[in-house]
Assembly symmetry: C2
Homo-oligomer: 242 residues x 2
Amino acid sequence: MTTILAEREAQPTLNSAALAQLRSDILTCRLMPGAKLRVEGLRERYGMGASPIREALMRLEAEGLVVLEQNKGFKVADVSIDNLNDLMDTRIEIEGVALRWSIERGGVDWEASLLAAFHRLSKQEKFNPESPRAISNDWNREHEEFHAALVSACGAPTLLSIRSRLFEQAERYVSLSIMADGPSRDDVSEHQRLMKVALSRNVEKALEANRLHIEATRGKVAASLASKKKPAALSVVNRKPK
Amino acid sequence: MTTILAEREAQPTLNSAALAQLRSDILTCRLMPGAKLRVEGLRERYGMGASPIREALMRLEAEGLVVLEQNKGFKVADVSIDNLNDLMDTRIEIEGVALRWSIERGGVDWEASLLAAFHRLSKQEKFNPESPRAISNDWNREHEEFHAALVSACGAPTLLSIRSRLFEQAERYVSLSIMADGPSRDDVSEHQRLMKVALSRNVEKALEANRLHIEATRGKVAASLASKKKPAALSVVNRKPK
DNA sequence: AGTCAACAGATTATCGATAAAATATTTGAT
DNA sequence: ATCAAATATTTTATCGATAATCTGTTGACT
C-alpha cells in the first residue's frame, strides 16, 4: 500500500504521521465510530511506538474525533442523530458568517481562486469505479478546497479553522452514509450554483444556498443513520485472542 | 502552594494534571505568550515525566494555546493585535448565535440558573488585595460560569464548546492586560444588564449588549497591547546555564 | 574582520520496560 | 446453579534511556 508509506515519508515526524493516518482512518471510517482504539493494535497497524500514537490521539481528542476515558483508553467518537443535528446546525451558522464576510471582503483574487477551485472539483471523479463504497481521496481534497475557497476571504483565521474542523466532522458522517447506501450524486450543479451566487455578491442568496447544501447532506446522512445497519463498535482495532 | 497539590490530587491521571496545570499557567500568563516550553523545564516544574507533558501540550496545541514547530519543540502561542481582533470578531458572532438560541429556547430552569450564576458572580471579589496584578481564581470561575449560563439553553453542544474555547483564549488576553495596567473595574452592572435583556427575551438588545461587552474588553486589551511593555518571550521555562 | 565547516552541547522525538488500573476468569461458599 | 471474592490477564499510563535533530561555538581559511 504505497499510500500509507507515501503519507508517512512526507511527515517529518512519527507523531505527525500518526496524526495524519489516524485522522484519515477515522474520517473515512476505516476506523468505525465507537471503535476501541487499543494502543497495541495501533502500534502494529502503524508500525511505531506508543508515544507518538498517544500524542496524536490526544490531539484528536481535542478535535472531537476521538474520546478518552481516563484509565480506560481511547475510542473513536460515536455518531448519533443528535450529534449530526448539532453539528449541522452549528455548521450552517458558522459557515454562514464566514461566507458573508468572504463575499463582503473578497477581491478579484478571491473570485479567481474560487473559479479555479470549482473547475478542479468539477473535473474530478467522485467515485473510483473499483471501490464505489468510498469517495475518492482526490475528490475529497478538491471538495474541501472548494468550500475553503468560498470562505477564504473571510479575514478571520480563527473562524476559518473552526469551520474546517466542523467540515471534517461532517465528512465522517458522509463516509458512513456512503458505506451504508453506496455512491451518491456528484452534485456539480449544486456547487456551481453556490459559486455563482457568491460571485454575484448576493449575500442572502449565498447563505440560503449554503444552508440548503448542508441540509441536503444532513438529510441524506440522517436517512442512512435511521435505517441503522450499524455494526459500529464492532470494528475494534485489536483484541488479544484467548 | 496547596493549590498545585490540590489540583493535582484531584486529577485521576498525571496527564490530566499536566493539562490542567499548563492550561492554567498559560491562561494566567504565568507562562507568557511566546515563551519556549522546554520539556525538561516543565518536568521539573510539575514533577513528572515527559510523556504526560507532551501529551498535554499536544492537546493544547489543538486548542491554539500552544504552538508546535516540528523538531523544535513547543512554545506558548503568541499574542498580537491581529489575533486579538480575529478572536473578538469571531467571539461576537459565535456567542451571538449561542445567545440567540438560548434566549429562544431557554425555559424557567435556564432563567433560574442564570439568576443564580449572576448572584454568585456579583458576590465575588474580582481582585485579591494581596495580588492586584491577577484576577482571583474564584472570580474567574464565576465569570466563566455566568457567561456559560447565559448561553446554556442554546441546545447545540458543539457550538457551546467552541464558545468556551474562544472565551478561554480571551481570558488570556485579559490576564495580560491586567498584568500590564493593574486592576480593572469590576463590571457588575454590565453583567447585570446582560442578564436583564436576556431574561426579557429581547434577542436584539441582548446581542447588542453582548457585543458591547466583548468590544469593551477588546478596547481595554488593545490599549495595553499597543503600549507594548512586552517582555513576552523572556519568560522561558528553563534554559541550561552555560 | 568575515564566512563557513566541523564540532560540541542541548533539546526534541521515540522506544522499550514497568507500574497502575481495569477487565476477565476462576474458585469457593450458599 | 448463583453470586461474589480472589486471582490472572489484559490494557493503560508513565518512566528512564537513547537516537535524531537542532543550535551555538570554535577555528581555519580568504
